[in-house]
């Protein structure tokens, strides 16, 4: 198993109140899976994937990644594992506005120890893969929302992570652009065997994956195969 959560519980401390955001989560994700997570707003989806993506380690229970727990690992170890193993696509793109597309996408490579010179062709390749050739010198504000999300996806896959986490990647996009973006994810999964964990509100979007889990009030209420795939 690539990812294994066993009886994971998470609480947010709000002053004197303890908010129970994840309730007894048991979840196993294998290499090459395309998993969609659905649930109403406030259900705890972002909390769950932050935990999986090594951004958050304030939880109870066990999270094994490749069989190892990183709950007590040092900050440097976590930074390294984020850099080597995780590709993030955030809900609102989260590109560095002052930097060019090239500078944004090369970040995981540079933090992995590559030089700018060595990173450049790899970045160009990733941009071609998401259909954005010839825009590496632009800055994010010169691009449309759909194009910015493509940049974010390029950044998430450029360093060939073990898995990609995407938090509502189509939340801010229209239906047509959403479909194009989802197509990229599906190609990544089908053609290159990338493991993808994708959060969405949109039932239509969830049909691109192979497996769907539903979350309500911090607990998993359903975990099923997606049989009726979205129309290609």
């Amino acid at each position: 198993m690539l990812i294994e959560l066993k009886s994971v519980n998470k609480y947010y401390q709000n002053g004197a109140q303890n908010f129970h955001v994840l309730r007894d989560i048991n979840l196993a994700i294998d290499r090459g899976e395309f998993l969609s997570i659905m649930g109403p707003s406030g259900a705890g989806k972002t909390s769950l994937i932050n935990l999986i993506g090594f951004i958050d380690r304030q939880y109870k229970g066990e999270y094994l990644f490749n069989g190892d727990s990183y709950q007590k690992a040092s900050d440097n170890t976590l930074a390294r594992i984020r850099n080597r193993s995780v590709g993030f696509v955030f809900q609102n793109f989260k590109l560095i506005g002052n930097n060019t597309i090239l500078e944004n996408v090369e970040l995981p490579l540079l933090y992995g120890g590559m030089t700018k010179r060595a990173a450049k062709p790899v970045v160009e390749q990733a941009l071609i893969r998401v259909g954005l050739s010839n825009s590496s010198q632009k800055i994010p504000s010169e691009l449309s929302g759909g194009q910015q999300q493509r940049v974010a996806i390029a950044r998430a896959l450029v360093h060939q992570p073990k898995f990609i986490i995407a938090d509502e990647p189509t939340g801010a996009l229209d239906t047509k652009t959403s479909a194009e973006i989802m197509q990229i994810f599906r190609d990544l999964n089908r053609n290159e065997g990338a493991t993808i964990v994708l959060v969405t509100h949109d039932p239509q979007v969830s049909l691109y994956g192979d497996r769907l889990i539903k979350i309500l009030d911090g607990a998993i209420t359903a975990d099923e195969e997606v049989t009726q795939h979205a129309l290609l």
Binding site: T46, N50, G53, I55, D56, Q58, D75, N76, A79, R80, R82, N83, R84, F88, F90, K94, L95, I96, N98, N99, L107, P108, L110, Y111, G112, G113, T115, K116, R155
Partner: protein
């Protein structure tokens, strides 16, 4: 991330915020420029001083030690014997010791005038005396052949002989020797004029040939003057002090007289002290300017950290370690101040050149590597010291809080 890539990132983010960066750099620029200017002028000054006090034949700094006997009558003993000279030679910083005789060109003597004693100023001249109103001047020839002749001033002539022309060809006793009065000059005011004194032309009551005077007084002052040639870098005042100390405690004639020193660098030293005071003042102002500039840098870095919280979160999510973030912001603030330091150095050089181009300045500013290193070091230090806290704040931001 590699150091060079972090630095590139830092430099780019400074250049992206040009106006704010320049405003923040202003204090550094002013502070560094002030320090560089005053250093260059100070160095130029001390070069000039060294050159002007070493402009004797040997090209070395020389100082003098003179022995003054308490009782001028007792002149049997030598002022300095071999042992004294050996002792002096052993003092560190002395290259050569030359023994000679002091004899001042001027002396204050007392003369009996109408049953009273009168104090008169005597000049022992090698050449011409100043203009006379009666008789003739002294000439270089008088000195060469040792004519026992004198020129006195009108008021002295009047009180001694009742008139200017009456005085001519009378005798006058100076230092127990009789001189013939051959000329009378105009009256000498009792107070000595400063500018005359500086140009070496002090009007005196009596002028006599120097050689004649030396001939009679030789025994008194033979060998009472030591001229010390200093090694390069030795400080005259310091050497003098040591030599005086040795002579006062071990000198052969310490009980019969006093040893005194004459430091040719003393005047330059007082001038240098004034310059030093100015240097300290400018440095203090520059220091305050740099401190305030540092606070400005810190403020700007805090603002920058706050503005770029999302960027920090993104970088952390992409695998930046805490130390990568800290280094990025630290390099950003150091690069900013180093840039300011370079600009300030350039400005300081221009200012110093401008100042030394002024017609009143007798010397040129001098630029040393030390000045450059100081500018570079100080600006780097300001950037690092005042950048540490914002950089730490940036690196300690909680990833969960900023990625939401």
């Amino acid at each position: 991330m590699r150091f060079s890539e972090i630095w590139t990132t830092a430099l780019r983010s400074i250049l992206k915020n040009k106006r704010r960066s320049i405003l923040t750099m202003l204090g550094i620029i002013i502070g560094i420029a002030a320090v560089v200017t005053i250093l260059a002028i100070g160095d130029g000054f001390s070069n000039w001083v060294t050159k002007s006090i070493t402009s004797n034949k040997s090209g070395k700094v020389e100082t003098q030690i003179v022995y003054m006997p308490n009782d001028t009558a007792n002149t049997s003993a030598q002022p300095f014997n071999e042992r004294d000279l050996t002792l002096v030679r052993q003092v560190k910083g002395i290259a050569r010791v030359k023994q000679s005789s002091s004899d001042s060109d001027y002396a204050q003597l007392t003369l009996p005038v109408k049953n009273k004693t009168k104090s008169v100023l005597v000049h022992y001249t090698k050449g011409k005396s100043s203009k006379v109103i009666a008789g003739r001047r002294l000439t270089a020839m008088d000195n060469e052949i040792g004519n026992q002749v004198a020129v006195i001033d009108a008021s002295l002539a009047k009180s001694l002989f009742g008139g200017t022309t009456n005085a001519l060809h009378h005798g006058i006793t100076i230092d127990d020797q009789l001189y013939e009065i051959v000329g009378v000059r105009s009256s000498v005011a009792s107070s000595v004029n400063f500018t005359d004194a500086m140009s070496g032309q002090i009007p005196t009551n009596i002028t006599i040939p120097r050689k004649v005077h030396q001939y009679y007084t030789r025994s008194e002052r033979t060998g009472d003057l030591l001229t010390l040639s200093l090694t390069k870098g030795a400080k005259a005042s310091h050497v003098n002090k040591q030599v005086l100390h040795i002579l006062k405690t071990q000198g052969s004639m310490r009980s019969q007289g006093e040893y005194q020193s004459n430091d040719p660098t003393a005047q330059a030293d007082t001038f240098g002290k004034v310059l030093n005071a100015i240097t300290y003042f400018v440095s203090a102002v520059a220091g305050i300017s740099l401190f305030i500039a540092g606070i400005g840098v810190m403020n700007m870095m805090y603002i920058s950290v706050a503005e770029r919280t999302t960027e920090i979160g993104i970088r952390r999510a992409m695998g930046a370690r805490q130390q990568d973030i800290r280094l990025q912001f630290l390099l950003e603030s150091a690069t900013l101040t180093i840039l300011g330091g370079f600009i300030g150095y350039g400005l300081g050089v221009l200012l110093a050149l401008g100042v030394s181009a002024l017609p009143v300045m007798p010397f040129k500013a001098s630029f040393s590597f030390g000045g450059f290193a100081l500018a570079f070091g100080v600006s780097t230090a300001v950037g690092l010291v005042f950048g540490v806290m914002p950089a730490n704040a940036a690196s300690r931001k909680d990833l969960i809080e900023i990625i939401r």
